[in-house]
C-alpha cells in the first residue's frame, strides 16, 4: 500500500508526492477525512489526484493512501430502486447516516451488505461453465429477475454451488479453473467503471425502442442498442423528454443519470416514479429504475465519474440479456467537469477551453452502447441504448460538445426554443431532427404495426416540409394568394402539428401512445385531408372546411384512451363524412 503526502491543493485537484508505487487510475484516500480520489496523472513520484469530495480543510503534508484498485462499482442484487451519487455511494443510506446534507468522508458500501437474498441455483455442481454463464438468479424486484453470472475472466468446473439465503458478500459457490485456481463466487461482482464490460459480438440494431412518444416513434425512431442526443436551450423541455423516455420506453431497465443538473429534478424522479405504473408490467416504474444523481452543487469530479458509473451498471444488466436504456442528463455538464479538471492540470486547451480529448471521451462513452451477444454459452442477446441530453450555451449547437456528440450519435432530436415558447411540446424540431436508423427499422414496423407505416411516415414529413415552404409564401403575399389545395395543405399540416406531434406529458392518457394508436391517428388526419380535398374539388370553400365542428373532435382524438380509440375514431370518420356531405 502506497502512502504519500500532499504538496498542492487547488480545488478538486490534489498533488501528492511519494506515490511512485501507485498505479494510474487507482483510487486513493486523501487526508484525515479519507476523502475519495482517483489518480489521473503521474510525474515521477508525484501523482495528480482528482478528489470526489469537497477539498476545503486539506493542507500540505496530509496523508494520501492508495487502495491499489481502480474506481469500481459493486454489481449485484440491490441496485434497482436505489439512488447513488457519481461514485456509487447510496444517497438514501447517506441521508439516514448523515442527515439531509452531504458531508465529507462518508464511506458506505454501494450495495447493502447485510440484506439477505433468495438465491436459486440453476447450474449444478460439476457443470463446466464459462465467463458470463448464468448459474442462478435472485428475484430482485417483481419485474426483474436478477441473473447471477460467472464473472468475466473466470471459467472451469463448479466445485460447489448451493441455493439459499445469502447476502452479497457471502460465498455461494466455487469454480475450479483448469489451471488449478479456485474462484469463490458471491452474488456481487466488482468492475472498474472506466473499462467496458466484455461481450461476445456486437450486432447491428434492427428493432426499434418504442417510446410511446409520437414524434419520436413515427418520424425519428431510435433502435434498441442505438444512440441518440437531445440538444436544446434551457426551457425547451429536455428534461421532460428524458423523463418521458425513462417512463415509457419498452426496455427492461432504465439507468437514469442526473449529471450536474438540478436537485429537485432528481427528487421529482424519486418521488414520481414509484407512483407510476408501467403499462407493460403493471408494476411501479421504480422496479426497473436505477438512479445516479450527481447534482450541480455536488463535487465536480464525481460528476465526471457519474456517467461511467451509470453505464457500467447498465452494461451489467445488459449482460443478463436484458434491454437497458441509459439516459444521461446532461452530457454538457460532464464535459464541463472534464474542462475544469483539464484547466487545473494546466493542459493545453482545445476549442472553448475544452480538453483536446473531449471527442474521444464522448465517443468512448456512446460506443459502450449497442446490441450485443452476451458472454456465456447460451448466446443470449442484450441491448444498451444510450441517450444523452446536451445543453449548448445559448442553444447554439455549433459549440464543441454538441458538435462532438453529433459526430457520434445516430439520432438527433433537436429541441427548439421557438416551439417551446408556443408551448408546442415535445419541442422537437421536425425540420432539422433526424434518425439514421429509419431505413433499418422500416422492416420491423412494416411487419409488426402496419405495412403502410413507412409510407405514412414519409407522407407526414413531406407535408410538414411543404408547410414550411408555403409559410414562406404566406409571409410574403398573404394566405389569400394560395390555391385552395395549398390552403388545405396548411390546414392539414397544422392539424398534424397540433393534433399529432404535440403530446402532453402531464396528461394521463396523452402521455403515452401505442404504435397502433399512433398509426390510427395519422390515418384519421389523412382521412380528413382526402375527404376535404374531394370537397374542394366539388367547390367547397376552405374556410368552411376549416370551421367544421368535427375538427374539434379531431383535435381531441389524441387524448382518447387506448381502450376506446378504435370506436371513437370510427365515429369521427362518420362525422367527417356527414358534415362534408352537408356542405
Amino acid at each position: 500500500m502506497t502512502e504519500g503526502k500532499i504538496i498542492k491543493i487547488s480545488g478538486p485537484l490534489v498533488i501528492a508526492e511519494g506515490m511512485r508505487e501507485a498505479n494510474m487510475f487507482d483510487v486513493v484516500r486523501v487526508g484525515r477525512d479519507r476523502l475519495i480520489g482517483e489518480i489521473i496523472e503521474m510525474h515521477g513520484d508525484r501523482a495528480s489526484i482528482q478528489v470526489y469530495e469537497e477539498t476545503a480543510g486539506l493542507g500540505r503534508g496530509d496523508i494520501v493512501v492508495s487502495t491499489d484498485a481502480p474506481l469500481s462499482v459493486e454489481l449485484g442484487p440491490g441496485l434497482i430502486r436505489n439512488i447513488y451519487d457519481g461514485i456509487q455511494r447510496p444517497l438514501e443510506k447517506m441521508r439516514q447516516v448523515a442527515g439531509a446534507n452531504i458531508t465529507k468522508g462518508i464511506d458506505l458500501p454501494a450495495l447493502d451488505h447485510d440484506e439477505k437474498w433468495d438465491f436459486v441455483a440453476t447450474a449444478k455442481m460439476g457443470d463446466e461453465v464459462a465467463a458470463g454463464d448464468i448459474i442462478g438468479y435472485v428475484d430482485e424486484t417483481d419485474v426483474i429477475r436478477h441473473k447471477i453470472m460467472v464473472p468475466p475472466g473466470i471459467s472451469g468446473k463448479i466445485a460447489y454451488l448451493l441455493s439459499g439465503k445469502y447476502n452479497v458478500t457471502e460465498k455461494i459457490g466455487i469454480i475450479d479453473s483448469p489451471d488449478g485456481t479456485r474462484h469463490e463466487l458471491t452474488l456481487m461482482q466488482k468492475w472498474p467503471v472506466r473499462r467496458a464490460r466484455p461481450y461476445k459480438e456486437k450486432l447491428p440494431p434492427n428493432v426499434p425502442m418504442i417510446t410511446g412518444q409520437r414524434i419520436i416513434d413515427l418520424l425519428f425512431p431510435i433502435a434498441m442498442g442505438g444512440t441518440a442526443c437531445v440538444p436544446g436551450p434551457f426551457g425547451s423541455g429536455k428534461t421532460v423528454v428524458q423523463h418521458q423516455l425513462a417512463k415509457w420506453s419498452n426496455v427492461d431497465l432504465v439507468v437514469y443519470i442526473g449529471c450536474g443538473e438540478r436537485g429537485n429534478e432528481m427528487t421529482d424522479v424519486l418521488r414520481e416514479f414509484p407512483e407510476i405504473i408501467d403499462p407493460r408490467t403493471g408494476k411501479s416504474l421504480m422496479e426497473r429504475t436505477v438512479l445516479i444523481a450527481n447534482t450541480s452543487d455536488m463535487p465536480v469530479a464525481a460528476r465526471e465519474a457519474s456517467i461511467y458509473t451509470g453505464i457500467t451498471i447498465a452494461e451489467y444488466f445488459r449482460d443478463m440479456g436484458l434491454s437497458v436504456a441509459v439516459i444521461a442528463d446532461s452530457t454538457s455538464r460532464w464535459a464541463e467537469a472534464l474542462r475544469e479538471m483539464s484547466g487545473r492540470l494546466e493542459e493545453m486547451p482545445g476549442d472553448e477551453g475544452y480538453p483536446a480529448y473531449l471527442t474521444s471521451r464522448l465517443a468512448q462513452f456512446y460506443e459502450r452502447a449497442g446490441s450485443v451477444v452476451c458472454l456465456g454459452s447460451d448466446g443470449r442477446e442484450g441491448a444498451l441504448t444510450a441517450i444523452g441530453a446536451v445543453s449548448p450555451p445559448g442553444g447554439d449547437i455549433s459549440e464543441p460538445v454538441s458538435q462532438a456528440t453529433l459526430r457520434i450519435v445516430k439520432v438527433f432530436w433537436g429541441l427548439d426554443s421557438s416551439l417551446a415558447y408556443r408551448r408546442h411540446f415535445p419541442a422537437i424540431n421536425w425540420l432539422n431532427s433526424y434518425s439514421l436508423y429509419k431505413d433499418r427499422l422500416d422492416p420491423w414496423y412494416t411487419e409488426n404495426v402496419n405495412k403502410s407505416w413507412t409510407a405514412l411516415s414519409v407522407e407526414v414529413s413531406r407535408l410538414l416540409q411543404s408547410e414550411s415552404e408555403l409559410d414562406e409564401i404566406v409571409k410574403l403575399v398573404g394566405v389569400d394568394a394560395l390555391s385552395p389545395e395549398d390552403r388545405l395543405t396548411l390546414e392539414v399540416a397544422r392539424s398534424i402539428r397540433e393534433d399529432f406531434l404535440q403530446q402532453n406529458a402531464f396528461d394521463e392518457t396523452d402521455s403515452y401512445a401505442s404504435l397502433d394508436k399512433q398509426f390510427a391517428l395519422v390515418e384519421l388526419l389523412f382521412y380528413f385531408r382526402d375527404r376535404a380535398a374531394e370537397a374542394i374539388k366539388r367547390g367547397c370553400s376552405i374556410d368552411k372546411l376549416a370551421d367544421l365542428p368535427v375538427r374539434e373532435a379531431i383535435g381531441r382524438a389524441k387524448a382518447i384512451a387506448e381502450a376506446e380509440y378504435k370506436t371513437v375514431f370510427a365515429d369521427i370518420r362518420t362525422r367527417i363524412d356527414k358534415e362534408l356531405a352537408a356542405l
Partner: protein, 463 residues
C-alpha cells in the same frame, strides 16, 4: 497556536502570495494586519508546497510587503447566525452596519454550505400567490423554487421584486408569521438598495428581513461572499428555525463579474466571454441551496435578479442561470415601452415547477388548461399581429383577426396590472376566461371538455 507570517511575496489585483507557511489548509480564512493596525480578510485559494495563494476580500490599498502580517484562522469563512438577525442590516461580509449591537451567535456556519442530498429533498409543490397574474396564472411560483428575473438595464425589475416580496403569501396556512425575507444587494447602487429598504420599511416587512448590502462603491471582491453570507443566514432561518424564507439577490451579473476578476488574476483559461469555465458549477452551488429538506418545516425560495448585458439571453450569465434555476421570468423592453407594468415577456418566461403547484386543491381545477390555452393563444395572436404588420389586416383569416384582438387585450389587461394591484388567483383565472371568450369556443383545444363545459357552458351565445 496561531502563527503569524511576514512572508508576503506578491500582491497583484485581488491575489496575494505568501511564502514559507506551514499547516495552512485549503479554503481557510486568513487575516492580514496592515502596518497601520487595520485588518483585512482573505481566503486560501491554492496551497502549493510551502506557498499559499490567497484571495483578498477587501482592497489591497495600503498593503505593505515588508511590514504586513498574515494569520490563518484554522477554519473557513464563517457567519455568526441567530434569529436576532431579522430586522438588521449587514455589510457584504456579514458585519452589522446599522449601528446596532453585535449579534450574539447561536452558531457560526461555514458560508459555503454543503450540498443537499437529492434523496433528502422534498419536492416543492406548494403554491405561492404573488398577486401578479403573469406569475400566478402562467408561471406559477412554488415554495422552495428558484425563479430568477432576467432583466435589462433600465427595466423595473426592482419594482417587480419588491412587489413579490410584499404580496407573496401561501394560501394553505393563514398563520404566515414564520415568513422571512433575506435580501442580498450585490454591487448595486445606493439608490436601488435604498428603494428596497424604504419599500420594506413602508410595508413593515423590514422586521422580518435580513439585509446584506454590498454597494457598487464597496470592493468588488467582497461580492463573492455576499450571496453566500445571505444564503447561510437563509439556511439557518429556514432549516433551523423552520421559517419560509424568500431570498432576493440582486444583481447576479455583478457577482459573476467579480468572479471573472479573480479568475483573470489567476490567469485561468477563460471560458465564454472571459468568464471562468467553472461559472456554471459556482452559480449552481449558490442556486441549489434553495429548496425544502426532509425533517424541516422551512423552505428557501430564491429570486435572483440579473441584468442581461445588451438584453442578450444567450450571454453566459443568464444562459447558465437558466440551466440551473427552475425557470425564469423575463422582462421585455417592448412591454415596458408600451407602458405595461410589470413588463413580463410572457412567452419565453417559464416556471418549471408550475405543474406541481397548480390544479384542484392547490389553485383551481381549470388552472392547467387555461394556462396552456392562454399561452398558445397569445403566441398565435402575436404571430397574427406580425403578419398583420407586413400584409395588413385584410390578409388575415377571420379567426386570426380574433387572435390578434385577443393578444392586444391580453397585454392590456392581463399583463398590465401595475405594481400595486394584488390579484388573487381566482381573479387571475377569471380574467383569463374572460379574455379567452374573445376567441371561438372551438379553438379551446388545450382545455378538457369537462372543464370547458363547466366554465364556458355550450349554450352560451358566442360573439
Amino acid at each position: 497556536m496561531i502563527r503569524e507570517y511576514r512572508t508576503i511575496e506578491e500582491v497583484a489585483g485581488p491575489l496575494m502570495l505568501v511564502r514559507k507557511v506551514d499547516g495552512v489548509k485549503y479554503d481557510e480564512l486568513g487575516e492580514i494586519e496592515l502596518p497601520s493596525g487595520e485588518t483585512r480578510r482573505c481566503r486560501v485559494l491554492e496551497v502549493n508546497g510551502s506557498n499559499v495563494l490567497v484571495q483578498l476580500f477587501e482592497s489591497s490599498a495600503g498593503l505593505n510587503l515588508a511590514h504586513s502580517k498574515v494569520r490563518f484562522s484554522g477554519h473557513g469563512v464563517e457567519l455568526p447566525v441567530s434569529e436576532d438577525m431579522l430586522g438588521r442590516v449587514f455589510s457584504g461580509m456579514g458585519t452589522p452596519i446599522d449601528g446596532g449591537p453585535k449579534i450574539i451567535p447561536k452558531a457560526s456556519l461555514d458560508i459555503n454550505g454543503t450540498p443537499i442530498n437529492p434523496a433528502a429533498r422534498n419536492y416543492p409543490n406548494e403554491f405561492i400567490q404573488t398577486g401578479v397574474s403573469t406569475i400566478d396564472g402562467l408561471n406559477t411560483l412554488v415554495r422552495g423554487q428558484k425563479l430568477p428575473i432576467f432583466s435589462g438595464s433600465g427595466l423595473p425589475h426592482a419594482n417587480l421584486a419588491a412587489q413579490i416580496a410584499r404580496q407573496a403569501s401561501v394560501r394553505s396556512d393563514s398563520t404566515d408569521s414564520k415568513f422571512a425575507v433575506v435580501f442580498a444587494a450585490i454591487g448595486i447602487t445606493f439608490e436601488e438598495a435604498d428603494f428596497f429598504i424604504s419599500d420594506f420599511k413602508r410595508t413593515g416587512a423590514i422586521d422580518r428581513t435580513v439585509l446584506f448590502i454590498n454597494l457598487a462603491s464597496d470592493p468588488a471582491i467582497e461580492r463573492i461572499s455576499t450571496p453566500r453570507m445571505a444564503l447561510t443566514a437563509a439556511e439557518y432561518l429556514a432549516f433551523e428555525c423552520d421559517m419560509h424564507v424568500l431570498v432576493i439577490m440582486t444583481d447576479i451579473t455583478n457577482y459573476a463579474e467579480a468572479l471573472r476578476e479573480v479568475s483573470a488574476a489567476r490567469k485561468e483559461v477563460p471560458g465564454r466571454r472571459g468568464y471562468p469555465g467553472y461559472l456554471y458549477t459556482d452559480l449552481a452551488t449558490m442556486y441549489e441551496r434553495a429548496g425544502r429538506k426532509m425533517g424541516s418545516e422551512g423552505s428557501i425560495t430564491m429570486i435572483p435578479i440579473l441584468t442581461m448585458p445588451e438584453d442578450d439571453k444567450t450571454h453566459p450569465i443568464p444562459d447558465l442561470t437558466g440551466y440551473i434555476t427552475e425557470g425564469q421570468i423575463i422582462l421585455s423592453r417592448e412591454m415596458f415601452r408600451k407602458g405595461y407594468n410589470p413588463p413580463v415577456d410572457v412567452l419565453p418566461s417559464l416556471s418549471r415547477l408550475k405543474d406541481k403547484g397548480i390544479g384542484e386543491g392547490k389553485t383551481r381545477e381549470d388552472h392547467a388548461g387555461t394556462m396552456n390555452q392562454l399561452f398558445s393563444s397569445y403566441a398565435r395572436g402575436r404571430e397574427a399581429k406580425e403578419l398583420m404588420v407586413v400584409l395588413g389586416e385584410a390578409a388575415l383569416t377571420p379567426v386570426d383577426r380574433l387572435y390578434a384582438k385577443f393578444s392586444d387585450e391580453f397585454e392590456k389587461r392581463y399583463i398590465n396590472q401595475g405594481f400595486n394591484e394584488n390579484r388573487s388567483i381566482e381573479e387571475t383565472l377569471d380574467l383569463g376566461w374572460e379574455l379567452l371568450r374573445i376567441l371561438p369556443r372551438s379553438e379551446m383545444k388545450r382545455i378538457s371538455p369537462k372543464i370547458l363545459d363547466k366554465y364556458w357552458p355550450r349554450d352560451e351565445v358566442q360573439s
